[in-house]
């Protein structure tokens, strides 16, 4: 019996191996724009991961005798209104911003994907789950962030919750759509006929066949999540001083736009570059992994 079960889901194995083929990376890198985006993102991620070694100064060390120094000299990107080195804060801030995006995408993706696949597999649950998704869709992330911040206080936790909740409904819809397509495949029928357990059907037959679609969607979603997270921090609901976070850095700099525009523009440009690169890379991954586009 077990031998038969293992042999049945040939289609899932094909789909999942599509993503892991070494040629995928080569195909992405063949696209010059996507290659440049991937390179920039890699540099940003590496710098953020090794911020302790890369940052030239302590991002929290103030120097009130050297506030709002313009870029150049000892401070490549200048100093902020407390005399802190902007480059160092940018590196640490990028780490926090990327972390917000990743956590939002991973947890939102997991929960949303699970809901979507369950909705597709268990028809009686479909209506309930999708109405829940509709309700979640009705609340913008910023509103959710406001509500959480009002209850629990502003902070990274409030933003993370808002980002996860904001990611769930979109992913659930995409996952459900992909899963419904897979449900119509013959191997699903075969699995049921052979008495394969629901868990195995959901995980090995269904999820593995949908995962590339969800993954592509999440790569595209990553940039948006970073943007929403930065916006929430900009509005004061996210990171609290002195934590370096790109959105909050931009918010603090806006008070000095006339005197020291670099304080706000540097983190804003960083957000722009990261989101742009994430979107370009997401597009490239979609192009490579989506069989319809390949045709």
């Amino acid at each position: 019996m077990s031998t038969t079960i293992n042999a049945a889901p040939a289609a899932p194995a094909t789909a999942s191996s599509e993503m892991s083929r070494p040629s995928v990376l080569r195909r992405i890198m063949r696209d010059r724009v996507a290659g440049a985006a991937a390179t920039i993102l890699t540099v940003v991620v590496v710098a953020a991961l090794f911020a302790e070694w890369v940052a030239p100064y302590d991002p929290y060390a103030i120097n009130l005798l050297n506030v709002m120094a313009p870029p150049g000299g000892d401070h490549l990107l200048g100093t902020d209104s407390n005399g802190r080195d902007i480059l160092s804060r940018l590196i640490y801030g990028t780490r926090n911003t990327l972390m917000l995006g990743l956590v939002g995408v991973i947890f939102g993706g997991l929960l949303g994907g699970l809901l979507g696949i369950l909705a597709a597999f268990y028809k009686p649950l479909d209506g309930w789950i999708m109405r829940l998704v509709d309700v979640l869709l009705a609340f913008p992330a910023i509103l959710i962030g406001l509500a959480v911040a009002a209850i629990a206080g502003a902070g990274m936790t409030a933003v993370l919750i808002a980002l996860v909740v904001a990611t769930i409904p979109d992913v659930a819809r995409v996952a459900r759509g992909a899963a419904i397509g897979v449900m119509e495949q013959e191997f699903m029928e075969a699995g049921r006929a052979l008495g394969v357990s629901d868990f195995t059907l959901i995980w090995r037959y269904l999820t593995l066949n949908c995962i590339s679609t969800i993954f592509v969607f999440l790569t595209l979603r990553f940039g948006q999540i970073i943007l929403i997270g930065s916006a929430l921090s900009f509005l004061g609901m996210g990171a609290q001083p002195p934590t370096a976070e790109l959105g909050m850095m931009a918010a603090q700099g806006r008070d000095f736009l006339f005197m020291a525009p670099h304080i706000a523009t540097v983190p804003s440009l960083a957000i722009f570059v990261i989101v742009l690169c994430a979107n370009l890379l997401g597009d490239a991954i979609r192009d490579v992994l989506d069989p319809r586009l390949q045709q």
């Binding site: 929290y60 009130l64 005798l65 802190r84 002195p242 000095f256 006339f258």
Partner: protein, 525 residues
Amino acid sequence: MSTKKGVLAGLAIAAAIGFAPATQGQTLNIMRGVDAPHFDAHRTTWSPAGDIINMVQDTLVALDWDGKTPIPYLAQSWEVSPDGRKYTFKLRDDVRFCSGKKMTADDVAFSITRLRSPEIKGPFAWRAGEVKAVTAVDAHTVSYELTEGFSDLPLQLTMFTNVIMNRENVETLGKDYGVQGMDGTGPWCFVNWQPRTEINLRRNEHYKWGPKMFKNPGPVKFDRMSIKIIPEESSRVAAMMSGRFDLTGAFPTAFLTQAKAAPMLTVQRAEPNFQLLYYGYKITRPMVADARVREAMSIAINRAEIGKGVLLGNAEPAYTNVDPLALDYAPKSRDFLKEDVARANRLLDEAGWKMGADGIREKDGMKLAPRVYVSANTNSAKVAEAIQGYLRKVGVDWRLQVWDSTIAPIKMGEQDYEIWSVTVPYLTAGDLMSLYFDSRNIPTPNRMNWKNEQTDEWLRLGKTALVPEARTLNFGLVQEQVSREHLWIPVLNVDMYMVTNKRLKGARPHTLYQNVFYKGLDLSF
């Protein structure tokens, strides 16, 4: 010149110098940085509320430009009994509310009684003194009896918390009073309020009882006033520079140099100006219960650098709770605060807070990371971040919680913090000490929860003193005591400014409780 030409020329000149209704139909546009949770004068200490209240409602006594002389306003005169326990106010007989109702002694008695009532829990009720009874002797005479003398009463009655309300209006609106509306005898009438967005007022047509400090007794020379809330500092700067607004008392201090250089703007500093930016400790919280810890945080910072770096020189370092120029300042209070980082480290060590591996001190498994509440878009928030940077060097991690200005009073009321901050304006040393350190003012504004019988007694003796020497002595003892206990971190004496568009004439900043606008009677284009 023909007669017709002469008349026309005369009209033109009259219009130019303001006799003609040159400003008829005009709107005065004012900009603020923060809003208030409501405008019920009896239930607040919030100066952004006081600003609007002063425009719409009046007090028995006005505060002259010198910031220390009470002058007649709704009360045209008053007498004090020899023991200082009874004041008799003679009211003007020509005062009307915006609604048209005549103001009488009944409204005065009602207002002071309401302020003192337990239901209201007025945080500034003490400013009305220890009231025994306020009664209407006749329609225009008020008997104001106190259980004990209060030498500062006329001065305190200038505060917006002692405004005279229309009894019927208060009773009609109930809990919505100060939100849906408020009737007043002030030069401006309340029209509507969109929280965090805009407040609209109109001219009080009846008004003609402006205090003598103004050239124009009323009514004001504008039909309407629009007050917009612009939280972002850069937006406020741009709005003033572009001529969108005529006046603001909330111009960001960081940009005052640019404002002074701008050809279209006039910058005036309010003088005198006693305004302290401080951080207060809630001493009932274990983390800051030890005076050594409180002193360590106070002496580990550099006030001169903060004033220069954060407020760009628009503030002076404060080493005492009371400004040395203020009435009844105690010079000895200066002995308790000497900035010294090495001593701060020693004090924290002695108090048992040992440096942790992450550079933050800890004791009994608890990090020395006090929660600090500040209001967004204020100097307190900016300065807090600088202090945070200094204190990290001695192993203290201030966890800042920045609240929107409309939520801040509520959150501070919950008192779930070790430290909070505001910038407080005051009139005299006795004013500041009585406000914050009287145990009857626990929990607000005595957010330190400082309960000390000796303090209360000195405050009482200071307030009831019939000679200046006794008053100075007792208020001085309080200053020394609270400085020794390090209940506050005094940081900066912050300058207060009014910025106006040059087309606006007659502007002069007042000093009362950050309300630079006050009545605005002399303003015109």
